[in-house]
């Protein structure tokens, strides 16, 4: 009888648990830009070894769930000997894995040759009701169509130009979502960031509206770390392609105003060939070359063309080219991914400048390295 009651109660409170994760080993061979000398980047060539590991757990009971993702990153390179070397920042993009950080749950250690960090990038409780969803804790806020440049989302940086796959940044706080109908939903978020000492608050809203069978509109805005921000994204489903555009306004604490723009196209040209074009403008305020950059690549007005071609079901080729219209600087990304077996893939990559920038180039464009590498990725 006792056993029966015990089994019944266990069944009644049965928890569904899901584990998932990935591991990535990366080897890079980097060559420095000769012009980086003037920014005290005096090394010529080097090697780096990177490991990225993620373990996710989701525990669910009826409408309640807890989701987490533990992120571990290891870098080994002689460049760490000199803190002025900027290349490790590109290797470890995005550098801040939690962009609105209240709790600093990070463990990290740096020596002259190695850096290791471990932290949860996602750890939240969620309750799902008929029309509402509430998430509290460390959450991802990933929205927006831009893969190279996605100005309307200050909470997650696009990683298409980087070699690492499936990485997202966390935010401490919570989000309330109201699903009004099949056509409209509203998201309200409150975040805090204590990484600079004083707590900086973020109040953010986002609405999604399907205006017709072709047209969708997203509006975002709020106060984010003492900056007023607002933006919109329009997506239009054409006959042959998806078109999207973004506009984003912000005013910082120094009353400097800026508008960022993005125009894009996404099209399956052929059953095996996918094309993506993005063109955008980001106002850049002058800053020290060694200061952190939020974006992987500094370009003010750019055009990018990305192609993904399925050579065989196991072999895919990605070719992306991004061109800065103001400085003529161009950057190329070549990735060849081969699926060794189910859930295990190997990637060969090249990332580096394809054209040298002119006088108008951003100093950061002159320190971008040329990297060849291999990555081995497994999923479970």
């Amino acid at each position: 009888m006792i056993l029966f009651l015990l089994l019944s109660s266990l069944t009644a409170f049965a928890l569904e648990t899901e584990f998932s994760g990935s591991g990535e080993l990366q080897y890079r061979n980097s060559r420095n830009n000769p012009e980086a000398d003037k920014y005290f980047q005096t090394w010529k060539k080097t090697e780096a070894k990177i490991f990225l590991g993620q373990v996710g757990v989701k525990v669910q009971h009826q409408h309640h769930s807890v989701e987490s993702n533990l992120f571990v990153r290891y870098l080994e390179t002689p460049l760490l000997r000199n803190p002025n070397n900027l290349a490790p920042k590109f290797y470890l993009f995005p550098q801040r894995m939690v962009v609105r950080d209240l709790f600093n749950l990070k463990a990290s250690q740096t020596s002259s040759r190695e850096r290791v960090e471990a932290l949860p990038t996602k750890l939240f409780y969620q309750i799902e009701l008929e029309k509402f969803r509430v998430e509290i804790g460390r959450v991802y806020l990933t929205y927006g169509q831009g893969e190279i440049f996605n100005p309307i989302n200050p909470f997650n940086q696009p990683t298409a130009l980087n070699a690492s796959a499936q990485v997202a940044q966390g935010n401490d706080g919570g989000t309330l979502t109201y699903f009004a109908s099949q056509k409209h939903d509203l998201h309200l978020s409150i975040f805090g960031d204590k990484s600079q000492g004083e707590t900086q608050k973020t109040f953010w809203f986002r609405t999604n509206s399907r205006l017709s069978d072709q047209l969708s509109l997203m509006l975002v805005g709020g106060e984010d770390q003492k900056r007023k921000k607002a933006g919109a994204e329009v997506t239009y489903q054409g006959e042959e392609a998806l078109y999207f555009s973004q506009i984003f306004y912000q005013k910082n604490a120094l009353d400097q105003e800026s508008f960022d723009f993005l125009l894009g196209l996404d099209q399956q040209l052929h059953s095996l060939w996918h094309l993506r074009v993005e063109a955008g403008h980001q106002k850049r305020f002058k800053k020290n070359v060694s200061s952190d950059t939020n974006r992987f690549l500094p370009t003010e007005t750019f055009l990018s063309i990305g192609n993904q071609i399925e050579i065989t079901p196991l072999l895919k080729q990605q070719v992306t080219f991004i061109y800065d219209l103001k400085s003529s600087f161009a950057y190329g990304v070549l990735k060849t991914v081969y699926e060794v077996r189910q859930d295990l893939e190997i990637e060969g990559f090249f990332l580096g400048p394809a054209l040298k920038g002119g006088k108008a180039s951003d100093p950061l464009q002159e320190i971008v390295t040329r990297d060849f590498g291999l990555a081995l990725r497994g999923y479970f």
């Binding site: 998932s20 399907r210 069978d213 072709q214 489903q237 399956q268 079901p313 196991l314 859930d343």
Partner: protein, 240 residues
């Protein structure tokens, strides 16, 4: 002999009075698609050197709404695709990211298989997107040519279907491109009945360009007697 003779001219399931290609196609569409359905299936891509299996579930309402989820392998686990009329979104649960995708993606191969997104999300139907005519009768088969209607967004200009006179269901489809070249063939087999609907549960797609490659789709479970509210095909369900 009499039965064989009868089946040469019409299908018993359709009734003796009906013998138009439209009626055959409409019947097959109704049996195999229904108005609404929930399906659990596995897809195996096979070549001489390797094979890969995906487990998928899919919910379809009419031809305008579809939601599919990949359950394995691990790399793609949880990826969902929602289609509402012309609009499509993919959701990547590990990043909690939803992105709109071009409906031209319907042309793309589904996860490296010989099936397209359109085959899985069922945005086009033979009965509504094509016009039909009988080509010829064989003993046990009715051969029907399906030609794309003007203005239809279906991807194949011409399909030739081989229908069994026994149950009026297709056993083979040949897909042709604009030049009239045979590009792929779909063999349908293992007819089972779910909720009163007879449907083939083993579909083998072979590309004409590579005889050694094929993709096998097995339907494990199909529910036709479902009542899926429109709200099910929404952001909430996509991002759950």
């Amino acid at each position: 002999m009499k039965r064989k003779l009868i089946s040469r001219f019409f299908c018993v399931a359709l009734g003796a009075q009906v013998n138009s290609p439209e009626a055959w196609v409409k019947y097959a569409d109704k049996e195999m698609r229904g108005d609404q359905s929930e399906t659990q299936m596995s897809m195996t891509i096979t070549t001489p050197d390797w094979s890969r299996t995906l487990d998928i579930s899919s919910s379809v309402k009419k031809r305008t709404m579809a939601l599919s989820t990949i359950h394995s392998p691990a790399k793609e686990k949880g990826i969902k695709t929602l289609r509402l009329n012309n609009q499509m979104w993919n959701y990547f649960p590990k990043l909690k990211r939803k992105v709109a995708v071009s409906s031209s993606m319907l042309l793309a191969s589904w996860m490296g298989s010989d099936f397209t997104n359109d085959d899985v999300l069922k945005s086009s139907t033979l009965s509504e997107d094509y016009s039909h005519r009988f080509l010829q009768d064989q003993d046990a088969l009715k051969i029907i040519e399906h030609k794309i209607k003007d203005g239809s967004k279906a991807m194949w200009p011409k399909i030739v279907g081989h229908f069994s006179s026994k149950d009026c269901l297709p056993r083979r489809y040949d897909y042709f491109d604009k030049e009239g070249t045979l590009k792929r063939s779909l063999m349908l087999d293992d007819i089972k009945t779910f909720d009163g609907h007879k449907t083939p549960t083993k579909l083998v797609m072979k590309p004409n360009s590579d005889e050694k490659k094929e993709t096998t789709l097995i339907y494990h479970k199909i529910k036709f007697n479902v009542d899926l509210p429109d709200e099910y095909f929404s952001e909430k369900e996509l991002t759950k």
